[in-house]
Symmetry: C2
Subunit: 411 residues, 2 copies
């Protein structure tokens, strides 16, 4: 996790690994990250039926103090319902935001829930709630809670995710008994800032070395698991893309730049730092790609660029067809780390990995390396490498993204 | 868990529920159980690469004290390999018994591993080890450890299960680095004895009310989950068997007796108490059945009885065929709670439930009610009810189990 003792270890590993791969211009660029720690945490239904609950704090959550907080539970089925709660209806209570996460290949069920995770605690705080409990943004049924970032001011509300079975239990208790009182102890606290870094390395282009095809992933992960899926897998894909391309007899025309971003999870600090430092060379970024959706297969490719250059995207997508990657003509978004570049007009190649299983383990203790199927994972890396090579070697470019398409969706 | 605050709550619930079902002669029979508590627990690899490990104490484990124990890890692949370790090779070290659990419909992979869990800690203690770590007896890949009973003397070794991903991690570290040092803190301790009870109710037979068909399950569970699968599901099957049969227009010739046993998990105390109290009426027990293998479908029926009465078993099994239950001519075992009755010669009807998924959640925090498929579960209860009715209504009986077939397998 960003700011943890593992953060500089990861940075050093990445720099060393890029050098072992003989990448060019391997270096780090400093990034300041917030430091937030989880501490001890526990929860239980205290009435009408005593039951322990599996919880974990949302990233940025406030702490409850060692004595915890206790309150009657007010359940809402959606962020919209939370926003509609009458003033004072949650005062002194614990808000329970109980919206299931829909399983979807494109991960669209997560986006809906993530807005609630991000904005829910602030709304509950304004309503006078003492805490917020969130049904985990997860498609699994494990007794493991899914963490993730919430919007946090200087005095953030204590907010925690419940594992899916625990959320369903709490829902049943409320449904049958019409009341539930919960006690929550969160040791979460911020502890200043720390130094981290983006780690960068290149395969220098043979004809236009100043033009850049960027492949990004992020070095940080949440603290609960190993971060194998999020985003160790993406780091591997980005490095493998560079390794494969540098091993070819002919280098592509343009430079391939691998950027391993700092602190994607808890503030996008690395992405913002990169856009600030490299904003002036935004025009030199021909396209940006990001690997931050696990280790499953790429099933489709989307694109965002100057519509006048669409034929080039169609030609590029044709090269991915033998890898069972379909062309999808919906506008590409790319991941969080390339969004500041997109806002600067940098075109996006959006290689869409199958996310059907991703939210079973995402942001939980279950994010471990045994969840990766090596053969499927290799196929995902092959798709990224093919797309990156094609973009770096094509004759023309994708122009710039139109102003109206640059903004990120608002959480 | 036996001896916990939930134990008398479960006993009171069972007695009340049997009365609500209008069962006859509903009563409890006292059982003394051991009280063992898990306390706080944690583990980590301290060298050569720091990593937290997910652990949970084996039932009956000793504690480490708050400061924990630390030692180099000696890995063995099986109980047989542990038994072959040279004297002093594990002195001051932590033994890591790393045997994967084979997935099998009949659950046979568990029996192999359970011997290691039960006997391993005692063997490691004799070798001078400071603790034992066991790869969880589980077919899942969740970061949740599987508990279960170990043989414990007055000073049991601290012994804990590692989640499967953590065991695989420790194995990889040992494989690559040739050494690993682990720190283990277990708050486990025994705290005397407690009073529990077997809960008993009947559907009185219309012709031979003193002859008994027993359907058993156990009221206790391990502390980590809800005990929905082990053995809430079995309790439901036993009660549903009684409910369905008592609702028929004609009662069977013999009495159906439901016994919900105390403390199966940690000493089989309820089963031994029942056999002691009811040993003199063992001859009146025509057959015993047990539901202690989750909520999945019954796929086969086995039997143990006087071989001269085999035609009656064949006729009974024919009634189960429409429920997709096959006759299996291997000798029936029955579960742990009916084993003392089998040793007294009581015949067994062994309805075999599909255990393919059972050891994914067994003895973990994941043992929650959402793991039960209601339709499949209902089919299992239908098979038990059909078999119980047929045994209670048949003309003759199954005689007695031969002496040589009565003994349980030794763990």
């Amino acid at each position: 996790m960003a700011g943890s003792p593992g953060d500089p270890v990861a940075v050093a590993w990445a720099e060393r690994t890029m050098k072992e791969l003989s990448l060019a211009d391997v270096h780090t660029e400093p990034v300041t990250v917030r430091r937030w720690e989880r501490g001890d945490e526990s929860a239980q239904i205290v009435a009408p039926v005593p039951q322990r609950l599996v919880v974990t704090a949302l990233g940025g959550s406030g702490g409850t103090g060692a004595r915890g907080v206790e309150g009657d539970v007010v359940e809402v089925a959606s962020l919209a319902d939370l926003e509609k709660l009458p003033p004072d209806s949650a005062r002194g209570k614990i808000v329970f935001l109980d919206a299931p996460t829909r399983r979807a290949r494109d991960g669209s069920g997560y986006g809906e829930g993530a807005r609630g995770r991000y904005r829910g605690p602030g709304i509950a705080k304004k309503l006078g709630a003492v805490a917020l409990l969130l049904r985990s943004l997860g498609t699994d049924h494990d007794r493991l809670a899914h963490t993730g970032a919430m919007a946090a001011d200087d005095h953030p509300l204590p907010a925690a995710a419940l594992s899916v079975p625990d959320a369903e239990l709490l829902h049943r208790v409320l449904d049958e008994k019409k009341t539930a009182r919960v006690r929550l102890v969160l040791g979460a606290h911020t502890s200043g800032e720390a130094r981290s870094a983006n780690v960068i390395g290149e395969v220098t282009g043979r004809e236009r070395p100043l033009e850049i095809v960027l492949v990004g992933a992020h070095l940080d992960s949440w603290d609960l698991g190993e971060g194998a899926i999020d985003d160790g897998a993406g780091v591997g894909i980005a490095l493998e893309t560079a390794r494969v391309i540098s091993a070819l007899p002919t280098r592509p025309r343009r430079t391939l730049r691998v950027v391993l971003f700092a602190n994607e999870e808890h503030g996008l600090d690395g992405a913002h730092a990169y856009a600030t430092v490299h904003g002036q060379e935004a025009l030199k970024h021909v396209v940006a790609m990001e690997a931050d959706f696990g280790a499953d297969a790429v099933y489709a490719v989307r694109w965002l660029g100057d519509l006048a250059t669409r034929d080039r995207f169609v030609a590029l997508a044709r090269l991915l067809a033998p890898l069972d990657v379909e062309r999808d003509d919906a506008p590409g978004g790319g991941g969080a780390d390339v969004s500041p570049l997109r806002e600067l007009g940098v075109p996006i190649l959006d290689l869409r990995q199958d996310g059907s299983r991703y939210f079973d383990v995402h942001h939980t203790a279950n994010d471990t390396v045994d969840k990766i199927d090596p053969g499927v994972y290799a196929s995902a890396a092959a798709a990224f490498a093919t797309a990156a090579w094609a973009a770096a070697d094509m004759e023309g470019d994708f122009g710039r993204v139109e102003e109206t398409s640059r903004k990120s969706k608002d959480w």
